[in-house]
């Protein structure tokens, strides 16, 4: 089996770019919306969004909520599962800002995704956002403050 994973990686990168451009139409176009069981697990949710309508609505609501969104991949591991299925693990950096005047928030997150080869190219059918354990993130935050020393106090 040919292990050409570049198209899988390209679809993922296009998806993150579409987030960064708040382009709902492009976000939707990168999914296999003919799959009624396609699912998306947002970082803040305990339950998956299942089905094209739920996922499309999520894209629309999230892009409307934030003035600025950035998704920047730093580690991407695509793989072919068979001739028509692919999977991907990735780590990306994200940034969200509600308005031009608001203070941005950001972090890193891990991604588990599955794609299917369609006549339009590789399209997502499952996507899960997996944050690092908050207990670990908080420890890192404490360590960063310690690294600042007392000079970082306001």
């Amino acid at each position: 089996m040919t292990e050409d994973v570049a198209p899988i990686k390209h679809t993922a990168e296009s998806f993150w770019q579409a987030w960064s451009e708040c382009d709902v139409k492009q976000l939707v176009s990168l999914w296999d919306m003919s799959d009624g069981s396609c699912s998306y697990l947002p970082a803040e949710s305990s339950a998956r969004l299942v089905g094209p309508a739920a996922i499309s609505d999520w894209f629309a609501a999230t892009t409307a909520e934030f003035a600025t969104i950035r998704m920047r991949p730093k580690v991407v591991h695509p793989r072919r599962l068979n001739s028509h299925l692919g999977a991907l693990f990735a780590e990306i950096d994200w940034l969200l800002c509600r308005s031009k005047a608001a203070t941005p928030i950001g972090g890193s997150i891990r991604i588990s995704a599955v794609m299917r080869s369609t006549q339009d190219g590789w399209r997502l059918c499952h996507y899960a956002e997996a944050p690092l354990a908050p207990i670990v993130e908080l420890r890192h935050f404490y360590q960063k403050i310690a690294a600042d020393g007392h000079g970082g106090m306001a």
Binding site: N82, G107, A128, A130
Partner: protein, 157 residues
């Protein structure tokens, strides 16, 4: 037994291995022929890719915890192909740390996303990504828990 039931049985065996911290048993439920297994534990800064990384993690986990319990709910099995399955579930782990790090038990709920393929020996993992809800959501959950404990007359319905 249906195909979905067979997949689910393997995942439930995997979860059950926590009770005895049977990481050898967990490894046996991974596809031994997979050259690049991916395991992303929620507490690991980096994803573990490849057998050496997985073996080192399981070995360290066995030594760092005095006890571990896990229970999972909300299983969902999706057959992506005849021999490939996507399984999602929520797991609550409860751990007591060993040695100098010993403290009262800690626990968390983790959203699991697993990919398994069918092998002659049965369904086997080749990718497992763990993730709790994000820190902002967990902070809100912690504050809601505190409100319930401090003001039960207002918050408990």
């Amino acid at each position: 037994m249906s195909v979905s039931d067979a997949v689910l049985a393997v995942v439930q065996r995997y979860v059950a291995c926590a009770e005895t911290m049977d990481f050898v048993g967990r490894k046996a439920l991974w596809d031994k022929d997979e050259p690049l297994p991916v395991l992303c534990p929620e507490e690991s800064q980096q994803a573990l890719i490849g057998w050496d990384a997985l073996d080192a993690y399981w070995s360290a986990s066995r030594q760092s915890m005095a006890s571990l319990k896990a229970k999972a709910v909300d299983y969902s099995v999706t057959l992506l192909a005849d021999d490939i399955a996507l399984v999602t579930y929520r797991s609550r782990w409860i751990a007591e740390m060993a040695g100098a790090a010993a403290t009262p038990a800690i626990a968390a709920d983790v959203r699991m996303t697993a990919l398994l393929r069918e092998k002659p020996e049965g369904w086997r993992y080749f990718q497992l990504v763990e993730g709790p809800v994000d820190m902002l959501t967990m902070a809100r959950q912690a504050a809601q828990r505190s409100a319930e404990e401090l003001f039960p007359e207002i918050t408990v319905r």
